[in-house]
Subunit: 326 residues, 2 copies
């Protein structure tokens, strides 16, 4: 796939830039801060920053600091998220706090966050553009924190959230960073509000479509590809869109089978498979894909007035995001 | 004391500003982020931002966003520090993670950090000044993270650090934020590099004097005022200046008595008092106070070319910092 090559090519440039910025003393701090970055990630957000700059005629070089900053912020959220959830593995390696201990992992996240702002504040862009970038990034970070707290609250509460509560949560927790990636790319190319808001809207809707698809994979995904059992999110009691849809729609015996598996770490593989089969039979997959497509269409519409290769690549990314199975 | 009144008056204005900025949804996130701020703190750093702006003829109103931002960053470090050290109490109340749980405390710190940048990026200052503020603040945050890691490393290692290693560590962990407070105050008033670097140097040296004095109180402080037993830091094995000086100077039986108490949570009150008496007899208090005074003199020298009431108040603060016993 042509698009995947483009993403990989871009990732190499971003990785080089990130590596050059994540150096310093004490070395252990920067090793911990680089740990997840070194071991994986497709650099989708930096790719969106760069292409959003190019779609408006901007120079990719000008967008590289913002692209790297958003990747640092993304990794900062991963490092702290893993501590909060006490997750053991990510990208096939131990999480940062498992490898370096919790105190250093907290600091590793904090230094990634600090470096992101340091990099953006030292670009060659005009001070007006720089201030605009920082204001947008800071607002996105506030949104991510709010979204993560909504997620924690949702997990704690017994109540099953409504679809609209779920969309609000992922809008902040996930889509805010996709949104700001595209908005920052646009700001690196132009000061026109309309263009910035078009790209911002593209990023936000792509981000929601991304998370919805991610959540579908978390329930229905092929275990050979996801490396997690089918129904993993159901067993973990995650209140994601496919699950809350299924619980809402299911009736009688079907509902019983789903609720037996929901948030039950001791469920047998057989009963878990049964629950996933019920969810499948309820047409949840089609329904969820339809939702993701709705947001993808909105995203596409935001770019209707643009053309050129950067647009082609952003649309190809959008397509990849909603069609992917991993 | 006139100066204390000034600090308190300033703190009230800062608190009002902070309160207005730490609002939002979900409420729990902002409650957790405000928890330590509500329960204490003298707002020394915001005071330094404001006075550093005024000493250069600037308007205090212009410095209020930077003043609040630095207090948010300070509190962000406290919240995360308390998690890292698993401390239970601060300002006489349970720490944020004790009250809200670790995941929400991590997010509370992160949102304070994000809000700090959001506030600075939305001031009425020129974009050039704003970019300068953010660049300085981000660098200070990187320094604080590095300093905290040096502190963690120092605590883990068996080796007693040299005085110069200790000064490097507190220069980053503590003084960087005092430094940037004064530098940011200056930037809110002027774009003259010399003035900014004078104030920056004042803040840095005051910060080092502050931490040295703090560490002295941690060993020799009056338990009635500190609410901790005499010799508390010695018992906890903290490698602070008075302790590393004492270990270096002491000989024979004296050294034995000190090392028996050092990092020994089971030491008897009697043996701990004995160790503190030995430290006292070695003249450590005078020696440490002399060091603090050395940095205070450097700080004072940085302001030699200025005059007026803001200068008087900054010098009074410096005096308070090195003479205080709590």
């Amino acid at each position: 796939m042509k698009n995947t090559n483009q993403i990989e090519k871009n990732a190499k440039t971003v990785n080089k830039f990130l590596k050059s910025k994540l150096k310093g003393n004490p070395k252990k701090l920067y090793d911990a801060a680089s740990h997840l970055i070194i071991h994986g990630g497709k650099r989708l957000r930096p790719y969106m920053v760069i292409r959003s700059c190019q779609i408006l005629g901007g120079n990719a070089v000008n967008a590289m600091p913002a692209a790297s900053a958003v990747e640092m912020v993304h990794n900062f959220t991963l490092v702290h998220d893993d501590i909060m959830d006490n997750d053991e593995m990510r990208h096939g390696v131990p999480t940062t706090h498992r490898k370096y201990g919790m105190p250093i992992a907290i600091l590793a996240g904090d230094v990634l966050f600090s470096k992101a702002y340091q990099i953006i504040s030292n670009t060659k862009l005009s001070p007006i553009a720089t201030t605009h970038l920082i204001s947008r990034l800071a607002q996105a970070c506030v949104d991510v924190c709010e979204g993560q707290l909504l997620d924690v609250k949702m997990a704690e509460e017994k109540k099953i959230p409504t679809q609209s509560q779920y969309i609000t949560m992922i809008g902040k927790k996930t889509a805010a960073l996709f949104d700001v990636s595209c908005a920052m790319g646009a700001i690196c190319a132009t000061n026109k509000d309309k263009d910035i808001s078009n790209l911002s809207s593209f990023g936000r809707n792509l981000g929601i479509a991304f998370q919805i698809t991610d959540d579908l994979i978390g329930v229905m995904g092929d275990p050979k590809i996801t490396k997690k059992p089918v129904g993993n999110d159901l067993r973990e009691g995650k209140k994601s869109l496919p699950i809350l849809m299924a619980i809402k729609i299911a009736k009688g015996k079907d509902k019983k089978i789903i609720l037996k598996a929901f948030g039950n770490p001791k469920i047998s593989r057989n009963d878990l498979n049964k629950a996933v089969d019920v969810i499948r039979s309820l047409g949840i997959e089609e329904n969820v894909r339809k939702q993701a497509l709705k947001y993808a269409k909105k995203a596409e519409k935001s770019l209707s007035k643009y053309s050129g290769s950067a647009k082609t690549e952003l649309i190809a990314l959008l397509d990849f995001v909603v069609k992917r199975s991993v």
